[in-house]
Symmetry: C2
Subunit: 706 residues, 2 copies
């Protein structure tokens, strides 16, 4: 059995193409190592690549494996409908990506129209963060450089006569490994990806070589500018205060967290901090009489402050008048929609934020409602809107989240300061942005699928915790949260922390659950798990930053040759070595698939062989985690925040017989950190560990597990 068979044959649909209309097959131009650009027709002027802030990470790209020639052929043709592109798909070549797809992992066989929308409730491609980029198990990725609601038909559409002409259907190799629902998607046939871009007369298309799917994703992320590197404090626990809290209530709850040893690095303020939200003034309300003092006080307790906002600028905002000439022709909630494609709009907007917030110590933002509203009450601007930059409303919906982040990136970069925040919409080339996606949706399985899926598309996602249906639900959700890019408890509509009362109404009536202290203790323990993992996760983000490998990703990205991984949407890799299999409320056990290699239960140390499905019954307190054999896993002390010296004191676990050295990075959270390498190594013969290059890190204990 050779790997090629498993991975599918890129270009296998060539035969089909020859019979296809009058389309021109395009020729590729190599633009970076392993990256090819196809110019098809006359591309539009406003696209993700044309409006990008970050240049490709050339140094990272130069280190990627050599790919000799472009792995796929591409054809296109234009019409009044727009521009149509097709790319062959081989038999058993599985497609992933297209951004934040909460309802499906495998895209092959699906039709996705990439409309930017809040709270997508059906699997149609509507998404907070659709991304016109996909990768396949054949080991390449494709970016369609468009700011349009493109439609992707990811294989499976049958052309007339195709069956009759005897197009060879290979056996669908993965079928026995896949749930039955996938069988009708005809994975075993050669097919094609069709992409229709409305309005356009042409498009630029980029192909990213592998040779593996993981390499292709990394190459796309490096082309995007390299992965985001959050400051270390961003990897601690986040807690968003209730929307109507004032300064006093905020400080009181922050003090309570320290008194009760609940870890927390970032305090988020929700809409109530402004004089007017929906639309926004960006001006501190009198409920916060001394924001600078409050931020100083929080800082002295180890906290950072994050502010909620959206971009719709209220007439009462000091920047409203200046933005009139730099905003679209429709308003939202009575506020201007800044034209963030216009540098002047970004300057006005960002400048005010710097002066009024960042200069006071605000560490970052939660950028709400920068998506669209087809499912949520039609509040946003219409697709037919016009912006001074020349963008129409559809293009602006595709780019608004990205360019909104640009406006604030300029502020922090100008101050040589790092930030980490949240954003409700993103898109193509998003990897460098230290902003994590979130949603008002709340299905736990979908939230976990978001963590699984995010790694295909250069985006980050948090399965944030709000209220819960039960204490079991609370714990299971919190466990997923701490094993995600941003560990956020978003209590914007509850007064007390959810561990005191999971039910919203009772919570707001101060009716606490009997015995809540026990639940609090269990939550503390879960949050402490996050704190212990900060050094490990930070290193994973440094890899994302430098080499483009996503810190959280689907199992298939590391094992595309194993069809048993193809459809797994409830397990994921965190960093190089941890396999996470979250539990969901109402379930006492679950099946976990372990790919090739040996694995150790993180909690018990029990060893399992790979390429098998096991059944486990984890206790409520534990989220199932499996550590790959050969791993050196450093765990920090559980601390209240990441500045605490304990966060650098490591207990090191050594899994398996011949562990590879592990690398951590010293990070001062500054805008241009040196990121000095710290190496942890284990001598199996001497059974001793060594730490090298450390200034702040220290290894206080070594425990071999085998």
């Amino acid at each position: 059995m050779n790997r090629r068979t498993f991975l599918g044959t890129a270009g296998g649909g060539g035969l089909l193409l020859q019979t296809r209309r009058s389309a021109a097959q395009a020729t590729a131009q190599a633009v970076h190592p392993g990256v090819w650009e196809f110019r098809l027709g006359t591309p539009e002027k406003i696209t993700p690549v044309a409006t990008r802030r970050y240049p490709p990470a050339e140094a990272g790209l130069a280190k990627m494996p050599v790919v000799a020639s472009c792995p796929v052929s591409v054809s296109g043709s234009g019409s009044r409908r727009g521009y149509l592109v097709w790319i062959p798909l081989g038999a058993n070549e599985i497609v992933y990506g297209l951004g934040l797809q909460l309802q499906s992992l495998i895209q092959r066989g699906l039709k996705k129209k990439l409309r930017v929308n809040a709270d997508p409730k059906m699997d149609t491609g509507d998404s907070h963060a659709p991304t016109p980029f996909y990768v396949t198990t054949a080991g390449y990725g494709v970016l369609i450089d468009t700011a349009r609601y493109a439609t992707f038909y990811c294989g499976g559409k049958q052309r007339k006569g195709q069956a009759a002409a005897g197009a060879q259907a290979s056996a669908a190799i993965g079928e026995n490994a896949l749930p039955a629902a996938y069988r009708r998607r005809r994975f075993g046939e050669a097919s094609e990806v069709l992409v229709e871009i409305p309005e356009a007369e042409g498009v630029d298309l980029y192909v990213f070589g592998g040779p593996t799917m993981r390499d292709a994703v990394a190459r796309y992320n490096l082309f995007s500018g390299g992965g985001a590197l959050p400051p270390r404090w961003g990897l601690g626990v986040w807690y968003r205060m209730k929307g109507d809290f004032n300064q006093e209530a905020t400080l009181a709850l922050a003090a309570e967290f320290r008194a009760r040893h609940m870890p927390c690095d970032v305090i988020g303020l929700e809409p109530g901090w402004q004089t007017h939200a929906y639309s926004c003034t960006y001006v501190w309300d009198k409920k916060f009489p001394d924001p600078a003092g409050m931020i100083r006080q929080l800082d002295s307790a180890g906290y950072h402050v994050n502010l909620w906002e959206h971009a719709f600028t209220n007439p009462a905002s000091p920047i409203h008048e200046a933005l009139i000439a730099h905003s679209g022709d429709y308003e939202v909630w009575g506020g201007l929609v800044p034209d963030f494609l216009d540098p002047e709009a970004r300057k006005i907007f960002g400048g005010f934020h710097e002066k009024e917030h960042v200069a006071l110590g605000v560490s970052g933002y939660k950028l709400d409602e920068c998506d669209n509203s087809d499912f949520t009450g039609n509040w946003s601007w219409p697709e037919i809107a016009r912006f001074p930059s020349g963008a129409d409303g559809e293009q602006m919906h595709c780019l608004f989240g990205l360019r909104y982040q640009d406006a604030l990136e300029a502020v922090f970069e100008g101050r040589k300061q790092r930030t980490y925040g949240l954003v409700r919409s993103s898109g193509a080339l998003a990897a460098p942005y230290p902003y994590v996606l979130y949603s008002d949706l709340y299905d736990h399985r979908e939230f976990v699928r978001g963590v699984v899926n995010m790694g295909f598309s250069g985006i980050l996602w948090t399965p944030e915790l709000r209220n819960a249906e039960s204490t079991e639900d609370l714990l299971r959700r919190l466990q997923s949260v701490v094993l995600s890019p941003l560990a956020q408890i978003d209590a914007w509509y509850i007064k007390n922390p959810p561990w005191k009362q999971v039910e919203r109404k009772a919570n707001n009536a101060d009716q606490l659950m009997p015995g809540w202290e026990e639940i609090e203790a269990k939550c503390r323990s879960v949050m402490e798990l996050r704190m212990r993992l900060v050094p490990y996760l930070h290193a994973a983000f440094v890899r994302y930053h430098r080499s483009g490998v996503p810190p959280f990703r689907a199992l298939v990205m590391d094992a595309p040759e194993d069809p048993a991984t193809w459809a797994i949407d409830d397990q994921y890799m965190a960093g190089e070595a941890l396999l996470v299999a979250p539990m969901f409320a109402g379930e006492s056990g679950r099946a976990v698939y372990l790919p090739a290699g040996d694995w150790f239960d993180f909690w018990s140390g029990r060893r399992y062989g790979g390429r098998q499905r096991i059944e486990i019954q984890p206790p409520l307190e534990q989220i199932p985690i499996f550590v790959k054999s050969g791993t050196i896993l450093p765990l920090a002390q559980p601390t209240p925040d990441t500045r605490d010296a304990g966060s650098f004191r490591l207990e090191v676990r050594v899994y398996g017989e011949r562990p590879a050295a592990a690398t951590l990075y010293e990070d001062d959270d500054s805008g241009a950190p040196s990121l000095a390498e710290v190496t942890l190594a284990w001598d199996p013969a001497a059974k001793t560990g060594t730490i090298r290059g450390a200034a702040r890190y220290d290894a206080v204990a070594w425990t071999p597990i085998a």
Copy 2:
């Protein structure tokens, strides 16, 4: 208070328009009495009007009230995005229509993209039968003649500076009468309807004058060709047999209905009658060894036979080869997609149906899956498909249901025979088609909203009964079914009638509910209500046919001057005189709004004054119905089928003091019935009733109720 204030001011947005881009205001051409056509830019060649089968009903249009001038102004402009049209909306001018919208009644303030799709689960405009036609309380209707997925922004989008410029917001007059959720839709402001038609370089737009909303709808229906007139038997009860039933099982259950006195006029066969379905051969399977004999036998028992199918033609079908040159370039389920815009395709397809089914006595069809599949597994052809007629896949999705009906209309019309059937997709100008829409969705409230909404758009809809969650649910659903255009029990996945067992699994295991005979008796009584109403409903359809007034419609259509009717989506008018307020499982009572005039409880005869909301607690056996004072209501005997002589023997109820004469029509169900008028009149002084012009009808009892 003058009526104009209530109805809103058509053209009230004129001020806005003057500041709007560089659009050309178009001039209207009167094309029929009270109908104006605007030609904007260069319209596409393939549109609903351009491909229509039925000409406007000139005779009916000539009888409509005179409207002196076009009630609205219209502007448009083109761009690479397609063509954009805007039409002013006055303050408090409420918008309805856009086809089968199961999730919303009032369209004002919503954005709807009219994509053809099966099982739409969100209120985005996706619909089995989207219709680019809307009406407003200002008393006019607008048809956008497009076969594209047009986007309608029905008011409420705020242009920059609009608020600042002091655009006068009237008080939102209906606000106190409307549920709170409507308040944020800003009904009190002048606004505009924006319609964006993708791909197009222009469009024809038709305005239908009133003066009332009801007149505008009637005028649209007459322009479409007049309303459908089902044969009398079509108004009886329909029952679809389980999909795997053979000839013997079909005949056995049909015999059981007669033996147990369960009314039924039409037996529907589901996919199993063919040698292959998904895709279809249209060839009788050996499970039905003698279809002609079976149909004869059923006919002798008073039954008509209806066949399920879809249009995707399997390679094993005798017409497959002939259709190859007359079908699209993509297949569905391995079957050809006939190009129904091509007369030759319709001829091949219809001809085979006539020879193999209709000549044997088949009375009609259920045309499934002629919509699209974005929410249901992506089985249909892509929008980028091409058809020999020149249509692309998007246009074909918009027209496929209509032109598919055409293929079969030609068969029945050629035989001078009437039909009544079901179809899963329809669109513009659908009024003349004797086909009723249905869906695989199953929310009872949505199903009732479909009955309320259908009348705005020239379409018919059945809230069919399948299985049920309880016997209460069964009865409440059945009650809605018998007060709808097509009273169908669709037992395609249950072996026994649902009154023997509501739960699907138990039903198919022949585990009948204890005491099912009592439930059967209650269902019989509900079905008998339908049979008693056949003469009345038939007359309502004749009015639809001749004067365009929908037989089922929202309360607001008869009382647009009463804001309390604007948002009512769970009550509707059936014919001129019956107000229906269905009950839903789990509710012991409900509020009912009675518009102006006096009303009588159909069951108790109790009299109520109008313009009030009453609370009722109807027993499980009764669906709330209120009869308008001044009505002569003829009720037939409850019969097993509509051919039974008892169906013409009338017990006549006389409601109120000065009832207007009622008209019924003698109908021989032929292709060209004479429809002789039968007049029922009441002499209040003499307290006697008279019937005139009757050949088959007879009035056997008169009961005054006051």
